[in-house]
Amino acid sequence: MSEIKPKDSGDDQDWAAAKAFFDNLKTKVPRPPKPQNAVTIAVSSRTLFNMVAERKIFVEDGLEKYVAYQVEHENEPLKPGAAFPFVKALMNVNTRLRELYPDSEELFDIVLMTNNHAQVGVRLINSINHYGLTIERFCMTGGNSPIGYLKAYLTNLYLSRDSKKVTEAIEEGIAAATMFLLEADSGLSDTQLRVAFDGDAVLFSDESEIIVKQHGLDTFFEHEKEFENKPLAQGPLKCFLEALGKLQRKFYAKNERLNCPIRTFLVTARSAASSGARVLKTLRSWGLEIDEALFLAGAPKGPLLQKIKPHIFFDDQMFHIEGAKDYGTIAAHVPYGIGQKYHKGKLIEQPEKKE
């Protein structure tokens, strides 16, 4: 037994030993990149896998019975969850990146970040192996908050089914979204990662949305026209879009723009004529590109998303999330900004906060 906190060379030694470990494995598993080089995506167990039946046992019969059940069934793989297609798409991008840049560590690193008890971990790892997912890092916190660990891994995006944890992550400056169950799947691409974003309060701050909610659409249009050349402030998912852009440029540099395995979409209720310009100019001022910008001028997002078929769609308003789900799109809620206080344009009566 010895000290837990060795002097600095500990980290380097770990890194070198990990490299050696993975390089020597008989089945060639790609070794995970250093967190500071990678785009780290943290997924919870319930977003990666469908754990509805197990969750029911937890809620109805308590923790001990739940863990016992999981242990009893640990050799039975779990079914895929809402984030599963997204994770597979990330893996595909990594494969393409490794082909073009064999020595680069600028890759996606997928981390399993779960509150689950470690004994449930065996079933989770068995399931990960069953589907051949490249997830080598995980934190099973046995009930403790994941926030500190998200920061420790320099997480770029956190997906969970627990909106409390997601809200906490956003408050701590980590891009995060709440996922919902979806009876999958309809013909998602397996060669291209497709990510769709709402604009206000997702990529951008909620400053304009506040104007709509409090002063109405006309004021909003006037305001946006007047401030067309003033960039909007950034929203919680701007940095994630930035990370995607950085990886996209690696493909462009190798002449793969037409064949790029990452495609991004902006799906906004703004209209191109009156309020769209400010959005595009803001993106330009940030040096960010978005592949397709779709201005709906208030039309429902569902049908359009159904055509786009993204692996994930981020929006701050539950109204749009529900609309997306109605049309079979995997939607993730970003609990940020003024949109949380409203539903379908009406102010929500805040219920008593339960502890």
Partner: protein, 261 residues
């Protein structure tokens, strides 16, 4: 020369069934400073650990007043001055610590004292003492200022791969065996509590291998009766951010890892 004095303030444990933990006077007390004018020493770096051990005992006895699988904490000191000795004893009483015995020995004889008292875990702030004790097959932990900020409410034990043992102290078969049986004892203790709100918590960290190494370690620990509560697989990611969140009281790394580094 080795001698033992019982602490009459504290109920003696059943030494055949208890887990005997020795802590040195220098780890337990700050002998440079005095507390209150009472003549008692101030708390040292081992305090939170001791309080956590006590809490485990309290909760075990609450569940079963006749419980014999408890922590039996003894104070070891190599300070030979008579005056120091009685101050250690009075400081122990002053802080209401659950120390059952005081073991006095010279520096040369302290290993003998450890073996004679059947010590299963030795806590010290002295690196040399750790080395010597480990070589004789006594599981030992080096405490430092990090220990002082650990929880006093929950005993957190970290199981980690062999990888971080210093090269100069290769585990002997004896120390492996001792560490394994100590881990099993802890495992039995852990079983007496539920999963939620336990005063004893086990964490597994693998630093270098991938998920399959970690899974293997989880199962290996299960096979010696240790059911870990939390698990972290770092796969080469920097260890300090994660370890600083975990704040374990001590680390166990022998006796369960059947995987090569």
């Amino acid at each position: 020369m080795v001698s033992t004095v019982q602490n009459s303030d504290v109920r003696q444990k059943d030494v055949d069934h208890a887990v005997v933990v020795a802590v040195t006077s220098r780890a337990l007390f700050e002998s440079d400073t005095e507390e209150d004018g009472d003549g008692a020493y101030a708390a040292g770096v081992a305090f939170p650990l001791l309080q956590a051990l006590q809490r485990v005992n309290e909760q075990l006895l609450q569940r079963n007043p006749a419980e014999s699988l408890l922590f039996d904490v003894v104070l070891m000191t190599t300070d030979s001055q008579q005056q120091q000795s009685s101050r250690f004893m009075s400081s122990t009483r002053h802080h209401g610590l659950e120390v059952t015995r005081f073991c006095f020995s010279s520096e040369e004889d302290f290993i003998e004292s450890l073996l004679k008292n059947n010590i299963q875990l030795f806590l010290t702030t002295d690196e040399n003492e750790v080395l010597q004790a480990t070589q004789k097959g006594v599981p030992s932990v080096l405490l430092d200022e990090h220990s002082a900020v650990c929880s006093s409410e929950q005993l957190r034990v970290l199981f980690c791969e062999n990888a971080i043992i210093r090269p100069s102290s290769d585990p002997t078969p004896a120390s492996r065996q001792a560490a394994q049986s100590f881990s099993s004892q802890l495992g039995k203790m852990r079983q007496k509590f539920g999963m939620f709100d336990s005063p004893l918590c086990f964490t597994l960290v693998t630093l270098r291998g991938g998920k399959d190494s970690c899974c293997g370690a989880l199962k290996a620990l299960r096979s010696i009766g240790v059911s870990v509560d939390e698990a972290y697989c770092l796969a080469g990611a920097p260890r300090s951010p994660i370890l600083s969140l975990l704040r374990p009281h001590f680390l166990l790394s022998d006796g369960f890892s059947n995987l090569d580094d």
